[in-house]
Symmetry: D2
Subunit: 238 residues, 4 copies
């Protein structure tokens, strides 16, 4: 795959050997090939594009997504506060469109990310994303974590579910001692209900407000994303 | 090593075979050994402690640190926005007390993190931290990145320096096309001066405000950390 | 004047004896009159509207305004931190579309607000607003505060200007000892340049981030206004 | 009264004819008198103090207060969103130590602020504050607003109570149509319970996060007040 970025910062992801066709003109695959990574190509309408090798962050930003897709800041925080690294044994639910799954897969590989989703239509979109971007270390399953967890010795369980507190009883045999539960919820009331059942865990709840700045004029952007979700991080003590 | 956590959530890191001696009493190594991970031990003063296996986040939280030590949220964001994963080729400066270095090392291993520090006293503290916690994949060097970068083909350059803009000219031959510079600065004026020289890069500047909540009463904490640093993420286009 | 509020919370301000004509139908003045304040009227399209007496906040929200019009939270803070009350002697610049002026006028009346504006077109819009809403205690002038201040013994000088630091030398003879300067600036760099010349003043700079919540689901709004301006409050000591 | 401010910005409020005795030395009343407002006095230990006339903001900052005393930003916002001005008919509960009462009194005078407090000990502290600072236009009463409101035609009802929703039924005959209820609550759950009973009102809930900056170095303060309260503003429609 190749990544083209135009003068306005718009990204175009192209399969190998594909021409670019967009509002700003057409570019032939062979011209992109000739320019190579780091090169500059020009469309027949005179627009210039930089040629790059895409990476996981490009895949995530160009993946098919639902309306409530997770942001990169939450992915970075979830992974960071869960202590994930190459080889970590991670279980995630729900898969949604699989954006967090892709992020996790790039952190823990060569280990697999196990991801559960109740809705087949969501799982299908997620699997298309994994396939399109060649992400092999994902074990995508249809299932409901409220019913139980079959795995054992997990390092982390990551939840983006409506009623995360219903999963907690199932962590007894599945999450290792010292392992972490990280739950993402839009409402602080969900965090409260989760916290209410976290006996035997050290836990904290926080939100992260990301604020973009115009560095040149030293002022924050006028419009911002005011809220994504509250994060609860819980560590199993016994 | 063993990690003991008391009823108030205080952490105690113990070398193998060491007894615990703290304000809340004494516990013998053999009792900790017998309790095992997930077990409970009691001090001679009647305090109870959970026994856990420490991980990288524990090491970071218990490492020797300076007054301006980086927070976990910034580590997670820096690593996330840099797109780091196992095998990434990362260069960092300055090392400081090595907390970010330790975090990066656990993400990119088995690759080494290359880290530069001008001050020998800081580098010494950092190396003691790496040694104490058994972190082997760090290449710690004394040197000034303002003078130049000897490495080539880096995936990411991560800066916590007073004048980050002085490093940008040296990225020409050292950061690969598509690779990322992430710079952390307390003042937005530093971000501005950096942004001013980022020609040939796509870049954005933001801050992340982390806000802890009392989940049970559904209210934010009264006191909070109002600021750590501004992050500038720049991607090399050519 | 009458204020009509529809089921979605949209406001309609009507001159005495005027019919309502809007996308949701028509209502005759006599029907509004008959319903009276606190009553309910229905349009010929079946929409219901509450009838109210408008007040200063309605006038401000329905006034003609430019793109950078000040928000109510900043008006409340400026007035509060300036210590304004009935009778306060206030000078303001620039007038802009006069929203802050209207707010100040309702606080300090029966005293006049003196307001300066360099641009005649802005002053004209502001004066139309004052006239439309019957706000008499405003002394609207064309002039540039960078050139000097003719008044003496002012309790407060309130600035929404590009280069507020240029006004500070003129406060010598015009702002009383103990009186306050409040300056509103989009960029923190403007606050810095102002602070640099505030010798002989106690001063502080802050911003206020207003965050709306959906109270029923206990979650913040997804989209929010991320920034309006930084406020510097300075008190003259000698 | 006189206000002395030392080189560090510390404030000292002195009754007429009183000497200053503080950690930084002693100053005689006659020397303060001689220096006059805008003058400089020096203590016997060589400390310098500016002499000012105190105003309402000084009184509020030096009043006796409880641990949860309201901040100036919330006072400015409450007054602003309630649309208060000279002559407004305002009822407030609970009085607490009377800081908001004092603020309101300076806005609405010559009208009285009616303020209710259940606890006699709190009311006593508040009344001492009103007396000490010569604030006459306050009608301080012992009573419980949950039991009912005796007044009629109020322009605004301002609540800082644990269960604000219990007051809403009593607004039927006491708050005028178009008048506003503003309620201040530490927990968003209180805001939710209030919003649940606000039928017949337009309402919004928000919080205001005040963030101080070091203007000279263009960075926010490291430590900040992360939370005071959520504000719900409700306007009576019928």
């Amino acid at each position: 795959m190749k990544l083209l970025i135009d003068e306005k910062g718009r990204k175009y992801l192209l399969g190998e050997g594909k021409d670019l066709h967009c509002n700003y003109g057409m570019i032939r695959a062979k011209d992109i090939e000739k320019a190579g990574v780091g090169g500059l190509v020009e469309s027949n309408k005179g627009r210039k594009f930089n040629v790059l090798e895409p990476d996981i962050l490009d895949f995530i930003s160009k993946a098919k997504r639902g309306p409530q897709a997770m942001t990169l800041k939450d992915m970075g925080l979830i992974s960071g506060y869960a202590g994930l690294e190459s080889g970590s044994r991670v279980l995630e639910a729900g898969t949604g469109s699989g954006l967090l799954t892709m992020y996790l897969a790039h952190i823990v590989r060569p280990a697999d990310v196990i991801t559960y989703e109740v809705r087949e239509d969501h799982a299908r979109v997620a699997r298309e994303n994994f396939e399109r971007f060649g992400i092999g270390n994902v074990d995508s399953r249809i299932g409901d974590l409220y019913d139980g967890i079959g795995e054992e010795g997990l390092d982390a369980v990551l939840l983006d579910l409506t009623e995360p507190w219903r999963v907690v009883p199932h962590l007894e045999g599945s999450l290792r001692v010292g392992g972490r539960l990280v739950s993402y919820s839009p409402s602080i009331n969900q965090s409260r209900q989760l916290a209410d059942v976290l006996e035997g865990y050290m836990h904290e709840t926080f939100e992260c407000i990301l604020r973009h700045w115009k560095a040149d004029t030293m002022r924050p952007d006028t419009r911002m994303l005011g809220h994504t979700g509250f994060l609860t991080v819980a560590r199993k003590l016994k």
